[in-house]
């Protein structure tokens, strides 16, 4: 059974990798033949060359963006977690905060970022604030919905056993919300990198966003593509790490998804 599922996974990966390879070949041909001028659409090989040439500079800028992204994400996740607990524990607070929370997401980040730069200067603070604003929301909403959807029978059973509110949270609500928490974390992690780049577009001395603005102004589109791929690779790497952490933190999940096949043991 496991072998079959592994084979299925390998064949799925093969198909998606093959498609990527085909797209890259088409792109290379389109660029080489000159269907699209190469200064507008540099070929994959040119992009790779630009990436290798600028690698030290890219890494230098990457470290700044990554630091801002991670700090913003950490603050956003902590704030989202605390806000969800607060809103779950008190209905009045939930009703009061929820509309403000929704409103906060209607404000466009691009419009807010210059104001933050104006108020906080060109340092890390405005970047972290932008990232905080885009990352705390998914965590708060996902966690709150999971907390609210906890099986009431489960809570009643623990109450009958004399469990405190903390014990109910520790044994039932938090583990039950882990799946949603990781889903939100993955969304927020992607947002954090994009948020950092947007904040850097609007000001700053270093970072992938700043680098992007510089190469755009000098019409170096091969470098532009190189940095775009680096940002995508960074987001993918973060998702990979989070998936790995989730597998370690939630070892029971693999059995839940295969419950039907594992339910063969007789009573």
């Amino acid at each position: 059974m496991k072998l079959l599922s592994n084979n299925k996974k390998i064949s799925e990966k093969f198909y998606s990798l093959s498609l990527v390879a085909v797209l890259l070949i088409v792109w290379q041909v389109v660029s080489d033949v000159g269907i699209v001028p190469s200064f507008m659409l540099p070929s994959p090989v040119t992009v790779i060359k630009a990436f290798i040439k600028d690698f030290p500079v890219l890494m230098d800028n990457l470290s700044i963006t990554l630091l801002a992204g991670l700090l913003g994400l950490i603050f956003g996740v902590i704030a989202g977690f605390c806000l969800a607990i607060l809103m779950d524990s008190h209905e009045g607070l939930r009703k009061a905060i929820y509309p403000i929370l929704i409103f906060s997401q209607t404000v466009p980040t691009v419009a807010l970022a210059p104001l933050l730069v104006l108020w906080m200067g060109y340092g890390l603070a405005p970047k972290i604030t932008v990232i905080f604003l885009v990352t705390f929301f998914p965590v708060t909403v996902n966690l709150l919905e999971s907390f609210q959807a906890t099986d009431q029978d489960q809570i009643r059973l623990l109450r009958a056993m004399g469990a405190t509110n903390y014990q109910i949270f520790y044994y039932v609500k938090w583990p039950g919300a882990l799946d949603s928490f990781f889903a939100a974390l993955k969304v927020s992690a992607s947002y954090s990198i994009v948020g950092a780049v947007i904040a850097e577009w609007l000001g700053g001395s270093k970072g992938l966003g700043v680098y992007m603005t510089q190469v755009r102004k000098s019409f170096a589109y091969d470098k532009m593509f190189a940095v775009i791929f680096l940002i995508s690779a960074l987001s993918l790497a973060l998702l990979f790490v989070l998936n790995l952490i989730q597998k370690i933190v939630m070892p029971w999940k693999k059995f839940q998804s295969g419950k039907d096949t594992n339910n063969e043991k007789n009573s």
Partner: protein, 254 residues
């Protein structure tokens, strides 16, 4: 077992319990006594207040009037004395079976290692050897109910409150788990109040079947089942079994 001997002291007493929700009475002056080693089945149509009564016994709900007494001590509105078991096993998916069954001990403040050691001693008795480190998703419905039963027993070793615990099982598994439960109950000297919709199950398992009347919101009728007769293998095929069923159907006014 003779239930109504004058010298017998009930281990659980429900005295004059009344409860209303939004002015609508659900239970009215309800009295019931549970004796050592007895199984009482509580039958009633949907909405007759069976689950409300369980919540009151478990201390999650406070009655408007009356009280609950465990071995003579009042426990009205107090949790931490009696736990119940539902048709859903309610095992926590992220804990292993050993940690799930030891959960009541952890809630009472015992350390993880002590809870595990205590739970481990009962694992063989409950037929869960080899499943200690499995997660609930790896167990069949019958095994999960055994684990849920052990968790209930580790919480309260005198009385089990069972709210339709067998209703989610398929017919064959249900039969096996019920027979196993009767054996275990006798071995552990456990007293039981069982909520059920299944008249056959009530007659087959119980010493006493009590009926919650929706008209009066209390117990007006009870049927005592002869324990000797119940032990007979063909009990469910005997005329006495059918007679009890007829009587119950009459009381339920179906």
């Amino acid at each position: 077992m003779s239930i109504y001997q004058a010298d017998k002291i009930p281990i659980l007493e429900i005295k004059g319990v009344s409860k209303a929700f939004d002015g609508k009475p659900v239970l009215r002056d309800l009295n019931l006594e549970l004796f050592q080693g007895e199984i009482i089945s509580l039958l009633g149509i949907s909405g007759s207040g069976k689950t409300t009564l369980f919540n009151i016994i478990a201390g999650i709900l406070k009655p408007d009037q009356g009280g609950i007494f465990l071995n003579g001590e009042e426990i009205t509105g107090k949790t931490g004395h009696l736990a119940y078991m539902l048709q859903k096993d309610l095992l926590l998916p992220h804990l292993t079976i050993l940690d799930n069954v030891g959960l009541p001990l952890r809630i009472r403040g015992k350390s993880k290692s002590d809870s595990r050691a205590e739970a481990m001693q009962l694992i063989p008795k409950f037929g869960l050897v080899g499943y200690e480190n499995c997660y609930p998703a790896q167990l069949s419905g019958g095994m999960a109910q055994r684990a849920a039963f052990l968790r209930t027993y580790l919480f309260s070793s005198e009385i089990a409150l069972l709210d339709e615990p067998f209703s989610a099982l398929d017919a064959l598994t249900k039969d096996k788990v019920q027979s196993w439960y009767i054996e275990m109950m006798q071995e552990l000297e456990l007293s039981t109040i069982l909520i059920t919709h299944d008249i056959d199950e009530a007659v087959r398992l119980s010493d006493r079947v009590v009926i919650l009347q929706p008209q009066t919101q209390n117990i007006q009728q009870q049927i005592i089942i002869d324990p000797q007769l119940r032990k007979q293998k063909d009990f469910t095929l005997r005329p006495e079994f059918l007679e009890h069923k007829k009587q119950i159907l009459k009381y339920l006014a179906i």
